[in-house]
Symmetry: C2
Subunit: 216 residues, 2 copies
DNA sequence: TCACTACTGCGACAATTGGTGCGTTAAGAT
DNA sequence: ATCTTAACGCACCAATTGTCGCAGTAGTGA
């Protein structure tokens, strides 16, 4: 072991990379992430290469490889950045209205041109890193949506003990399923119908959680 | 335009290549398709390369490139071959039972090890060809499942004019959504709960089609 | 049985992509 | 203003992907 790291001024075993999120780095990051989105929209999930991203962003290939490692790193960063917004679920005053509005947002995002969101979902299958980032994003989004169910319970539209997550998944899954996996043209009012179905099942108590054993 | 194609013995604009689907070609095809599935299970959707498939199958790279062109062609052929079976939806005697059994089959296929079905779904995003083959397979499967709804209608479990496709999608979408897109560990009885929810909404008439205008 | 030819295997080739040392630039602190 | 060093650009190499010409093998029909 050579004492190549004397560290004269105290213990700093892993000198925190002392990130410099200042001007240049931040600018480069934005350029690269924008390029990733643009490439995704243009060439789809698997047309995404480090080379093309570097070329479009005007940043050198080597820089991208060093900071992001590979395509998975790029996607993960894009997904993490996508979660850093102030998005809030719609608030229309009724459960079905909220779910329908939410589903319309989802459908709009999935059928938008260029299909960036759809490509992002597909691309996140390509690497472990992107996969984890994608899961974090899903988790964050569905967690934010739980307020929809809480409001409905407060309005006495739903029974206490309604499983918010299951209800939200039941309401949104058909939209994702049809637009992402099945890839069939959506029916006339896919968002509204899915919302209506879920709200109907919910008010019938389909998402009641079993009362926890031992509760008074 | 030069008359460079004299064709003395009648019109044969494109002499059909006179395919030979005989013994050797069929054997090669099976070897290659089996290798695709094995590679998908081992290295996942994007570990699938023409090279690895050729190596595993014992068929030469050039042959694979010639017959299938690229990875998309391989996936499309696998998907088309997957549709050539005699699969029938379960028949348990009740709508909810049928849907639950169907969902269990889906869950089993998606969580199986190695995750061939999940990898196949993810991989089909990689090419136009595979995408089309995948859509054909979805269409075929859901069409075969419509008998579940027909039987339920005959048993008077459901009102006439129930939209079979929408009901089936509502019942199965949560399973696909959670296992393929969200990739969260499934709850204790995901298949059964999704089936119960859909059956409940269905019996409440959530999937009734609007009576066609002009009907008596 | 024999000729015909579609199909396959082989090896070599160009093109693209993934990844890495090294010198230079510029952000952040004194 | 100037120093330190994280971050960048250039050049280069290694690995992979995709294609082609040619010779050999094996279905197919006569």
């Amino acid at each position: 072991m050579t004492s190549s790291a004397p560290e004269p001024e105290g213990a700093r075993p892993v000198p925190p990379p002392q990130r410099r999120p200042g001007g240049r780095s931040a600018r480069i990051r934005r350029q690269v992430l924008d390029a990733v989105l643009a490439e995704l929209g243009e060439h789809g999930y698997d047309g995404l290469t480090v080379d093309s991203v570097a070329a479009r962003s005007g940043v050198h290939r080597a820089t991208v490889y060093r900071r992001w490692g590979d395509v998975g790193g790029l996607l993960a960063d894009v997904l993490d950045a996508a979660g850093d917004d102030a998005w809030q679920p719609p608030d229309t005053g009724s459960l079905e209205g909220d779910l329908a509005a939410l589903n319309r947002e989802i459908q709009d995002a999935l059928v938008a041109e260029p299909p960036i969101v759809a490509a992002l979902i597909a691309a996140s299958f390509r690497s472990e890193q992107a996969d984890h980032a994608q899961r974090r994003l899903w988790e964050d989004r569905y967690a934010r949506c739980e307020v929809i169910v809480r409001r409905a319970v407060e309005r006495a539209e739903l029974p206490l003990g309604t499983d918010a997550r299951r209800l939200l998944i039941a309401a949104t899954a058909p939209v994702y399923h049809q637009l992402v996996l099945l890839r069939t043209p959506p029916g006339p009012d896919l968002p509204g119908q899915a919302a209506r179905t879920a709200a109907l099942a919910a008010s019938a108590g389909a998402f009641a959680v079993p009362p926890p054993a031992g509760d008074t």
